[in-house]
Amino acid sequence: MSKDNVKKSVINESGIEIKPLYSAEDVAATGGAAMLGLPGEYPFTRGIHPQMYRKQPWTMRQYAGFGNPADTNKRFKYLIANGQTGLNVAFDLPSQIGLDSDDPMAEGEIGRVGMSIDSLKDFEIAFDGIDLNKITVSLTINGAAAIMIAMYLAMAEKKGYDITKLRGTAQNDILKEFIGRGTWIFPVEPSIKLVGDTIEYCAKEAPKYSPVSICGYHIRESGATPAQEMAYAFAIGKAYIAEVTKRGLSVDDFANRLSFNFNIYGNLFEQVAKFRAGRGLWAKVLKDQCHAKDPDSMVMRMIAGGGGGGLTFEQPELNIVRGAYYALISALSGTQTMALCSYDEAYTIPTEYSARISLRTMQILIEEMGLCDTVDPIGGSYFVETLTNQMRAKMEEHMAEVEAEGGMVKMVAEGAIQSKVSRQAYEMQRNIQTGVFRKVGVNCYRIDEEEHEVAFHPYNEADARAQIASLNEVRRNRDGQAVAKALKQVETDAKSNRNVMPALMAAVKAYATVGEMTQALVAAYGRYREPIRF
């Protein structure tokens, strides 16, 4: 390379300048090893367990769900038969925003992007024949999360599991839904109150269950930088903690059940440093700002996966290669759980074949590549340690900016965060279209593509009709008076600001539907109105 060709300046997405060479001086100049420590010990930068994957590889949890609960049950069993160790449930949009399948707004959407859930009966079918003590289940549900958590716990109880020992996760991060993803139902304040209800209820009744997985993931997809992704997620986490501690619970009563969901696309070193830095910063925030005493409360547990924003419509088979690098990033970052977007996922619901490729990608890292042999394998690199220190400082800057603007809840309610990340998304898209930010197959190395080799997941009208028929059968066979009474209790408890989870559990067990329970809550809380702000 001639001297003229040497890139004069390299700045990562988070805004940190990258030097051509790093040494011990760079590590020392950015804070040294003050936040490094040992794996399994505060501040957990190197990992949350002393042995990490030597003891147990990460959980493999591909996102899956479509059609009726029976269709999804079949896909779950296929993934488990192929070595998947956890489930990650996709719900259709009507279920996600609290509509029954026979709601006029649900037409054309039933079972389209996830499985359709109307009542407890659907949960019973979806998890039929799956050992919930062996396979942990993650519910990707937010607006309707309180209802779906109640359904999951009620289903498990009915099948004979001891819910005080039951593990599992719900996404249940409503603040990020206002920023990206958009499956909100209620206004901001009662939405946070509902998250608090689920945390409080689970701390008492289902203490092994993780009621919230705080998502930087979708904020990143909406345009945040990697450093903002972490900072905004931590600001959201602090808001939920404040909601619960104001009810009189100690942070150590529940913080060890909070988990995180982060994205993995982008520059490899930036992502790995992001996760190492994030673990240290969350531990510090919990200790210094939230006054946790138990080190277990300070641990940043995560699913690091997906990578949807990095995948391309162009030359979709290249997404298999990207997925492999993303999996490597996740493994090098010390994740607890991994999921990969499949190569066809930019277009459609993955086929069994493409979902299996994603699963095998992770298994190759475990079985062939030695990723589970030693803890934090790239720790100690001058570059990685320097960048970890710099990324942590950058995240602290962003957290301070949020505080200065009045806090995350206020910024979300006013649409300020939404406006900021969407402006960044626009700038990034412009940089991709003008070739400033390189994307293989998109703005360089393009080929003429007539038709992409992707099999589209069909939408099945007959399945939708069957789901509505099944819903009507539930309505016919249940005790209508008991349902009405249970729904009234949900509304009363919501209106009097009590924890609604006990009333929701009772309503679920009486086979009240998702739409009915949502209506009862809307009667108390009203509906969210989106601020349009650019």
Partner: protein, 131 residues
């Protein structure tokens, strides 16, 4: 003589919450000098037709990422026609499989912009389509 700016409605049809693309296009069109109205999420066909009529727009654009574009557009077409908006420029962008393009065109969507379409192509198409 001051010329009226081209006015564009960008709507998010149905229940799909993926609005990053819609918002990005809103900014690109505003930067190109158009007047842009964004509806926000969860619009019914009736709401889209009403917004287009009330705002008196030249262009009606939908952004759909979650696969329900065909059933939505089948319902929207007669509503737009009934509102006398059949002569406006109808566009749709997002996750739109090639196999659906013919039907979208037949329904009256003259501009089809699958995800990763260039801003300049959308802008040029609007300028050429609105006389």
């Amino acid at each position: 003589m001051s010329e009226r700016r081209i006015k564009v409605l960008i709507a998010k049809p149905g229940l799909d919450g993926h609005d990053q693309g819609a918002k990005v296009v809103v900014r690109a069109l505003a930067d190109a000098g158009f007047e842009v109205v964004y509806t926000g999420l969860r619009q019914t066909p009736e709401q889209v037709a009403n917004a287009a009529l009330e705002e008196n727009v030249d262009v009606i654009g939908l952004s759909s990422m979650a696969g329900s574009h065909l059933p939505f557009c089948r319902k929207l077409k007669p509503l737009l026609e009934k509102a006398g908006l059949g002569d406006k420029l109808w566009l749709i962008g997002g996750n739109l499989p090639a196999q659906d393009h013919a039907e979208l065109r037949a329904l009256g969507f003259r501009g089809i912009f699958p995800a990763s379409s260039k801003f300049t192509d959308i802008v040029d198409f609007i300028k050429a389509g609105v006389s």
